[in-house]
Symmetry: C2
Subunit: 473 residues, 2 copies
């Protein structure tokens, strides 16, 4: 499935930009006068500052690093998205980051100019993948698979022009779910819409609406050049409308549309789709809307896009631009473009706009002053005395071996206050303290960071006691 | 951390190759005569077969798709590796797939020729990342971070020549853990070795050994050109030896080595390292071995590589090539190469050879005939009658909304046998059956696939009953 519309990409990037630490351009030049870099690194004979002035440390234009804070938010959201895909019986799949250039040719229409090509270094001509849909279709055709329900989470790359549309990222994550195969009409399509609803509801991003269009109907009504202008104008009225099954029924009654076979079939299927959406309990979230103009070239039937209806902004939050957070549709012809005999494998799928969602969630956490823990450490091993490194190392190995997440400071003789401050800063809930007193008595002091309460635990009971406390919390 | 040695990559690729479905080259040509591909897809006016003869559907040389089976194995192994990294307090980090070309310049010595460059499409000159270590160093320098403990799981790309060294993949996954910062000697280094031991023990790959060398000592003894040949020969004796702390102490006593400041310091630190390894209970897994010649240019101190000592092959399995499954070392100069003032941030880290491990585990599962479930579906919704699609859709939505992983066939009127076969093939443990009888009585039949036992459950108790059964299993 392709990434979401323009609005989406502009909006999320702007918010993400507020959150992340901006790259600080500093100047450096490579140590190119050294013929043996090994020696250069070994002896660190680096050039003095003034010789490094035309080298800026940065990530490539349109890309960024993801900080530990951002990674935590991503991991949580991706876990939720993937668990929904698995709830619907999808298998995982991965494809290479690059494809043969010719695999991507003539799949993206005017967007083809945004494909990253690799340099010809001898061998095949390669391009970075532009979405996860075309590689999926290539996989199906290559392995002669006639059906498959798969999800794919991965990066894609597009040479958007950041100077023209500020904040469009050139590397971003896609989360796709697709159903390939010849099935009875609209059942997989309805499931895709159900999945979008489950994910957006589960993430609690506020109210949302999924706009649906139909490529054939839209094509008939909007794009087809052969229509007499007055007829086009007449049926073009519907483009202004949006609604549920009643609008679809109204259009089915209209002879201007029912005379066209493709449009009629499309509307019939849409009516069926709305029946299934009603059974799924999500019909009120879906609106038929011919003004929806999204979709890459490969779409063939129903196409959809989910938008947030209200900003999740509370009084405490910055106002948010509302944009597309999920999209997808049917592409029945794409696999056939790869198949030598043109065998078609009908497909329908969806893509969750996780980048946009990441930034909304990040912004919300920031607005509420939620501190994000970037580590999961449960226990810190401390000492109040000098020369206790050996005891600390023995103790922490015991914890690690018991599966407990534990840290210590990499210092021979750290100050106790430094150690306790570290725990408070990092949100580590428990500290085990070993010193002369404890060693003498065969105990360990177990300290709860929040309450500062301390108890002595017999050394041999320590692991069990910690595990008990962690399982209770 | 760089990927593992030659042996590693050769070996795992060979095994992986046995497991995966080989690409089936078929012929197709792009539909380049269509100026409007949208129309081509829409109307599926595909060229007949004979015109597609010079187009082969494949992945780029040295790359492959990962099938659902492979993805399941990977997910399990990566979960284990990442949970170990988190147990040691590491934060997550991600960097772009490509870097400015100049960031990678002069970091890899003679391996630089293996870097993938992107085509100059106007703008910056870019290269795909070659490992995760150089991007980490760039991140530290760019953000002026003086310390950080992070892990990173991601793909890297190297233009290995598959024709010369058969089976080397050009895209592969790395799992790195690194500790950056100025700390007391050898504490982080020892933790890195502990992590390798925990992961390799946890994965039950059989017995293993970690070989350690020391770049400075090795350089003094093996590489330094200034030494008189007879002296080089004499101390070169040690290159034949390998052992634990006793060998290190023997070398420390040797005036030929103790007269050299760098070698002396290195040996002193190695002795300290062995002390810590003893406290961690892993000293017997570590062997000092100057014959170890691995390591990219940027290494500066201790370097190590873990090898499996015995094949995990049982009588039922194919024999396995034993190779390197983890590697790492110290690189104190790399961050300084990016810093404008040459400020050094000492680093030590490790890389788990997950590709090799994937293939060992896959092969073992295959040898033992373990069937890998590629979906996690818990319940299948079936019907024995026609015209029950609506009831099935209502029912499955209820299950999904309760968080239960559920599937149905996308057919209006599937045969019961087809539905039950699907469950057996896919390993789905439970089936809920709704038909006329059930509808009339307000119940659902709950069938256990393994025992074929069926019970009637009141419709309103169904979700609770399923959740109870799933929590018990």
């Amino acid at each position: 499935m392709p990434q979401l519309g323009l609005l989406h990409r502009r909006a999320w990037a702007a918010f993400l930009g507020q959150l992340r630490r901006p790259p600080r351009p500093v100047c450096i030049r490579t140590v190119h006068s050294h013929s043996q870099v090994a020696e250069a690194v070994l002896t660190s004979q680096l050039k003095p500052r003034q010789e490094k002035s035309n080298f800026i440390i940065k990530t490539p234009k349109g890309t960024r690093d993801l900080s530990p804070q951002q990674m935590v938010v991503r991991e949580k959201i991706l876990d939720m998205v993937v668990s929904c895909f698995k709830r619907h019986g999808a298998k995982g799949l991965d494809t290479p980051a690059f494809e043969l250039k010719e695999m991507l040719t003539e799949k993206y229409g005017e967007d083809s100019g945004l494909i990253y090509d690799l340099k010809d270094q001898g061998g095949e001509l390669l391009s970075l993948r532009y979405d996860l849909t075309v590689p999926f279709a290539r996989y199906l055709a290559m392995n002669k698979l006639r059906k498959m329900k798969r999800y794919h989470v991965g990066k894609v790359w597009r040479r958007e022009s950041p100077t023209i549309v500020q904040g469009r990222y050139r590397e971003f994550c896609q989360c796709d779910f697709d159903i390939a195969g010849q099935f009875d009409p609209m059942i997989p399509d309805a499931e895709c819409l159900k999945i979008i609803c489950e994910i957006l509801s589960g993430l609690q991003l506020g109210d949302f609406l999924i706009k649906i269009s139909w490529k054939d109907v839209r094509h008939e009504m909007v794009a087809k050049k052969g229509l007499a202008p007055e007829v086009a104008d007449q049926i073009g009225d519907y483009v202004q409308c949006h609604g549920g099954v009643s609008l679809v029924e109204q259009m089915l009654q209209d002879p201007r549309l029912s005379q066209n076979k493709q449009a009629l079939e499309g509307l019939g299927d849409l009516k069926l789709l709305f029946e299934y959406l009603t059974l799924f309990g999500i019909a009120e979230k879906i609106s038929f809307d011919l003004s929806l103009a999204r979709g890459l070239d490969y779409y063939t039937g129903v196409i959809y896009e989910a938008v947030l209806l209200q900003t999740p902004a509370q009084a405490e939050e910055e106002p948010l631009n509302v944009g597309s957070v999920a999209a997808g549709g049917r592409y029945d012809g794409l696999v056939g473009m790869f198949d030598p005999s043109g065998h078609k494998v009908p497909c329908v799928g969806l893509s969750i706009g996780v980048e946009r969602i990441f930034s909304i969630v990040e912004q919300r956490m920031k607005a509420f002053g939620e501190k994000i823990r970037t580590t999961e450490t449960q226990v810190f091993v401390a000492t109040p005395q000098k020369n206790f490194l050996q005891e600390r190392l023995k103790l922490i190995a015991e914890l690690w071996d018991a599966g407990i997440k534990a840290e210590l400071l990499y210092k021979n003789n750290p100050k106790l206050l430094t150690q306790l401050h570290y725990c408070e800063n990092m949100g580590i809930p428990l500290v085990v303290i070993i010193g002369e007193q404890e060693l003498m008595e065969g105990v360990i002091t177990l300290r709860t960071v929040a309450s500062r309460e301390e108890v002595a635990i017999k050394r041999e009971n320590l692991v069990a006691e910690i595990q008990k406390r962690l399982s209770e919390s």
